[in-house]
């Protein structure tokens, strides 16, 4: 053993650094939150080797109103049911004669025009569920009738057959969403810097010490401790990639997608990432094109996704992004310039493999009654299954047990 290893001066510098990092660590802990806001990132690298395909799943939490984002302007009932908040058809983008996009989605038009963006309308759960909480569980579990909490993305990772130490690996902090929850280890981190063994900067003695404590393998945590250290090491290339977050918009979602892009550019074998965008539950003050929550959230959604695809560099041809909500909203507006909980919704697909520039799905005739829903004509699992099949070639009965498979056809 050595004696004095460092001078007081070094000590104070280290103390200050630790204090700051410790504080930030705590702040990130506070729900990946103080820094990322309502956009929380989780990632699951399935292999240390380069991934062939990367799937980003963006959950629009709170039930986004698909009828405001992908507007059925060709159905007059839309305008009858929404006398104050309907979007005038002359303001819409990407019009195809029936549908048009919200004008604040302008940032997505380059992807649309390049055929890299598709909208699938009137999608949802097989059975309506208006509880955010229950619907998210069902949507992400995607295995009706099962009582095991095991998400569809976790099942997807279980099909890769990968034996790398990174398969079976979580990193980071925070409560893992249901879609990723299950026996396949995954990672969760709100920031690239959070993927670390805290104390590594004390020197190699930190790792040596942990090995001394855990390598005898006598406790159930011993393998987890070893895998954690290996995973952090395998993640190292991400730390070396450029932090491009300054080029993104100043929004929670953009900050989250900047982290996602950096992880993907690190090319450490991450196959699936999930991401949340909050604040979609617009019972009041969804608003108009002049004011309200919809214009803000729509722009955040579009501009962050646009910046994300522009930031992927050589990895871009691998990356597909899917966005969805737990359910949709009512057809008719309420008294508060808002919309209550409904059923069917639009789903969104971008990037690799997408046969884009058009709208998909069978759109039912709208009804203008107090509690009328957009009915569901496409089981959301069939949309996800198109992506899983096209990009991963995975077994659909394994990933979506019991699904009556009907391809939607928006993937190459």
């Amino acid at each position: 053993m050595t004696t004095e290893m460092t001078t007081d001066q070094q000590c104070c510098a280290e103390y200050a650094r630790l204090s700051r990092r410790g504080f930030l660590g705590g702040a990130v802990a506070a729900g990946s939150v103080l820094t990322l806001g309502s956009a929380v990132l989780t990632a699951s690298p399935a292999t240390a080797a380069s991934a062939d395909s990367v799937l980003v799943v963006l959950s629009m939490r709170g039930a986004a109103d698909g009828l405001s984002l992908a507007v059925p302007y060709g159905d007059p009932v839309y305008y009858q049911a929404r006398p104050r908040i309907a979007i005038p058809s002359d303001q819409l983008l990407a019009k195809d004669g029936f549908f048009g996009l919200h004008p604040r989605l302008a940032g997505l038009m380059p992807l649309w025009d390049a055929g890299e963006m598709a909208v699938i309308h009137a999608c949802g759960l097989p059975v309506a569920n208006r509880s955010h909480f229950d619907a998210m569980e069902q949507l992400e579990d995607a295995d009706p009738g099962s009582t095991t909490r095991l998400g569809w993305l976790n099942r997807l990772l279980g099909t890769t057959g990968d034996t790398s130490p990174l398969e079976g690996f979580y990193v980071g902090g925070g409560v893992v969403p249901t879609a990723l929850f299950g026996p396949e280890p995954t990672m969760a981190a709100g920031a690239v810097d959070a993927v670390e063994i805290v104390g590594d900067d004390w020197g190699p003695g930190r790792r040596t010490s942990l090995h001394t404590l855990w390598d005898d393998g006598t406790t159930p945590l011993s393998p987890a401790m070893r895998i954690t250290m290996e995973a952090v090491d395998d993640f190292a290339p991400v730390h070396d990639t450029t932090d491009t977050s300054a080029t993104y918009p100043d929004t929670d979602l953009a900050r989250g997608l900047a982290v996602a892009a950096r992880m993907i550019r690190g090319d450490v074998g991450i196959k699936v990432l999930t991401l949340d965008q909050g604040d979609w539950d617009m019972h009041t003050n969804l608003g108009t094109l002049g004011w309200g929550a919809m214009i803000r959230n729509a722009a955040e959604f579009a501009d962050a996704i646009s910046a994300f695809f522009a930031d992927l560099g050589t990895q871009r041809p691998k990356v597909t992004l899917v966005a969805l909500s737990e359910f949709g909203r009512r057809v008719a507006e309420n008294a508060n310039y808002g919309l209550d909980h409904g059923y069917g919704n639009a789903m969104w697909a971008f990037g690799a493999g997408v046969r884009g520039g058009r709208y998909y799905g069978s759109f039912p005739t709208l009804q203008n009654t107090l509690d009328a829903d957009l009915l569901v004509t496409t089981d959301y699992r069939n949309v996800l299954a198109d992506v899983v099949e096209s990009r991963f070639g995975a077994s659909i009965p394994t990933v979506f047990p019991g699904l009556s498979r009907q391809p939607v056809g928006f993937m190459l």
Partner: protein
């Protein structure tokens, strides 16, 4: 009605967001549960006769071989015991033999008093599994009680234990005491949203776990509150959720039948699993099914017809909506009338008031052998090992049935079983357990939050720390409750987050508002000591265990000093490397398992 945008600005964690999102209508109802059923007096006398001869309150005689114990385990003296299991230290798990009881004056215990807890590995397993972390104060309590088992027996009567430090925390969050109608009106007015009340509730639970001297009761409360899971984030559940947890606590060491009756008809459960809006025309099968599948017998013992009748029996227990102040009511007009049959239970169910048939049905389920097996196994997985032997599960199930669903005798049979003492280090702390145990280990003093709660106050941070480790208390989002096995809490995500927690807390770097950490000087064993002596002292002070050789080596490696290094308060290890030393203790298996 939802009000998430302000909520998200206040606190934008995913959890907070989810909570803010979920507020709908619903209705449900409450009602008193059935009362305790007293065991026949002759049965009590018979049990007493078979297991011990009381010599005095502190000294009694085991019926098996005439051994004496420091503390009487019988119902008359100190606490309940399990029939058929010898409470003697020497005969754990063996049935008592008849005869051989000389009676007469007390004789010296051939074993002598139990060793101090620090030198009693089996006793330490008991205290660790049934507390939220062993501390020097707890060690002193155990030693004063006459050993781990005597302490445990005393803990089974929590009302006799002074607990002011934990009790006062209830007043730290005034909304915990508000009635449902008040909570709802504050929620709709935007004064305090339901999810904020639920966060206060979760924080209160964590504070209780840190402070309470009724550790066994609190550990079992967490166990049952998870078994009968009503997630705090569910819809309108918040109006009744605090009352739900507070109804479970006093029953946590009582009888399972009473627990089952209380939770099944509680308005929080009714709101969560839909029984609050169930009618005879359209029975909502959610609670009727989970009652069978999760709360009692488990899958494989019933069919879909049983589920239908299970739901029919439960119709009538309603909860008024917001306009009715969320009052729990029984509505005979909604109760399904007609013969019902669930497994071996059948009833003419002819009365529109179905409260009695509900209670009979729940009593049947509580006493079902399949329920006994499920509860026994679940207790084993939580408190002993993930793969308990069939013999142990059977013993506990039989104890449960013999004791008319009494919980304490089952726990006593468990802790006296050889498999229990052998299970050192076999259970991983879950996220909330790690957070709570870390505060206890580091002896962090926590001040009341006050009003308004200062930004970053430690009582707020406690919950964020749990979230960071992957699970907040009572927030598991499905009715089955969070898993108790090790594997669920061995993910790399969790491990890395725990290491972060330990480092941050060891340095006293965060949280700081309202938290007072001990100074390095206060942890020292004297004015001059070796590193090895320091580790030995800290292991006892922080972990309430003897230091292992690998712990000494690990601290030596992380600091870069030899174990034999002599030092004082001015040494760099004390002056600025102390967080490394403390975190190495907390990062060790000695702390991360329980």
């Amino acid at each position: 009605m939802c009000a998430e945008s302000e909520a998200a600005e206040n606190e934008t964690s995913r959890r907070g967001l989810l909570r803010a999102l979920t507020l709908g209508a619903g209705g449900a109802l409450a009602g008193g549960a059935g009362g305790l059923v007293a065991a026949p007096a002759d049965a009590v006398a018979e049990r007493r006769a078979r297991t011990c001869r009381c010599v005095s309150r502190k000294r009694c005689r085991c019926a098996c071989r005439g051994h004496y114990r420091a503390t009487c385990p019988c119902t008359r003296c100190h606490g309940p015991h399990s029939r058929g299991a010898c409470p003697c230290h020497r005969h754990e798990g063996q049935p008592p033999t008849t005869g051989g009881d000389p009676g007469g004056d007390p004789v010296p215990d051939p074993q002598g008093p139990p060793p101090p807890l620090l030198d009693d590995p089996a006793g330490r397993v008991l205290v660790s599994r049934f507390s939220h972390g062993v501390t020097p104060a707890l060690v002193a309590e155990v030693d004063a009680a006459g050993g781990a088992e005597a302490w445990f027996t005393g803990q089974l009567r929590p009302d006799a234990i002074e607990d002011a430090a934990a009790e006062e925390t209830y007043g730290w969050w005034p909304s915990l005491a508000y009635p449902p109608a008040t909570l709802w009106s504050r929620h709709t007015a935007g004064t305090e949203y339901g999810w904020q009340v639920m966060q206060s509730y979760q924080r209160w639970l964590l504070m209780r776990r840190i402070r309470t001297r009724r550790q066994v009761q609190e550990v079992l409360t967490a166990f049952w509150e998870n078994h009968f899971n009503v997630p705090v984030q569910g819809d309108s559940v918040f109006v009744h959720r605090v009352g739900y947890g507070r109804a479970i606590r006093p029953l946590a060491l009582g009888r399972f039948e009473d627990l089952l009756k209380t939770v099944t008809v509680h308005p929080a459960m009714g709101l969560y699993l839909g029984n609050a809006v169930s009618t005879k025309a359209h029975p909502n099968e959610n609670l009727g099914r989970e009652l069978l599948e999760l709360h009692t017998v488990g899958r494989g013992h019933y069919d879909e017809d049983d589920v239908k009748d299970s739901a029919r029996i439960l119709t009538g227990w309603r909860v008024a909506g917001a306009s009715g102040g969320w009052a729990a009511t029984y509505q005979p007009a909604d109760h399904y009338v007609g013969p019902v049959s669930v497994m071996g239970f059948s009833h003419p169910n002819a009365d529109a008031d179905g409260q009695a048939v509900t209670m009979q049905y729940l009593g049947y389920l509580a006493r079902h052998p399949a329920t006994a097996q499920r509860i026994a196994r679940k207790l084993c997985v939580k408190f002993c090992v993930d793969q308990p032997s069939a013999g142990l599960v059977d013993l506990l199930a039989n104890t449960y049935l013999a004791g008319d669903t009494a919980i304490a005798p089952v726990l006593q049979a468990l802790v006296r079983h050889p498999e229990f003492a052998a299970a050192t280090g076999a259970k991983v702390r879950d996220p909330a357990e790690d957070v709570v145990a870390t505060y206890r280990a580091l002896d962090v003093a926590i001040a009341p939050p006050g009003s308004p709660v200062p930004e970053g106050h430690v009582t707020n941070a406690l919950l964020w720390q749990c979230n960071n480790l992957g699970a907040e208390p009572q927030a598991w989002p499905q009715p089955n409750g969070q898993p108790a096995d090790n594997e669920s809490w061995c993910s790399p995500v969790r491990v890395a987050a725990s290491l972060d927690l330990h480092v941050t807390m060891s340095g006293g770097w965060w949280p700081t508002v309202g938290a007072t950490y001990r100074t390095p000087a206060s942890w020292l064993p004297g004015s001059s000591f070796t590193l090895e002596q320091l580790v030995g002292h800290l292991a006892v002070q922080v972990l309430s265990q003897r230091a292992t050789p690998s712990l000494v080596t690990a601290v030596s490696q992380v600091t870069g000093y030899a174990p034999s290094t002599t030092m004082s308060a001015s040494h760099p290890i004390v002056r600025w490397m102390f967080p490394r030393v403390l975190t190495t203790l907390l990062d060790s298996p000695l702390h991360m398992t329980r």
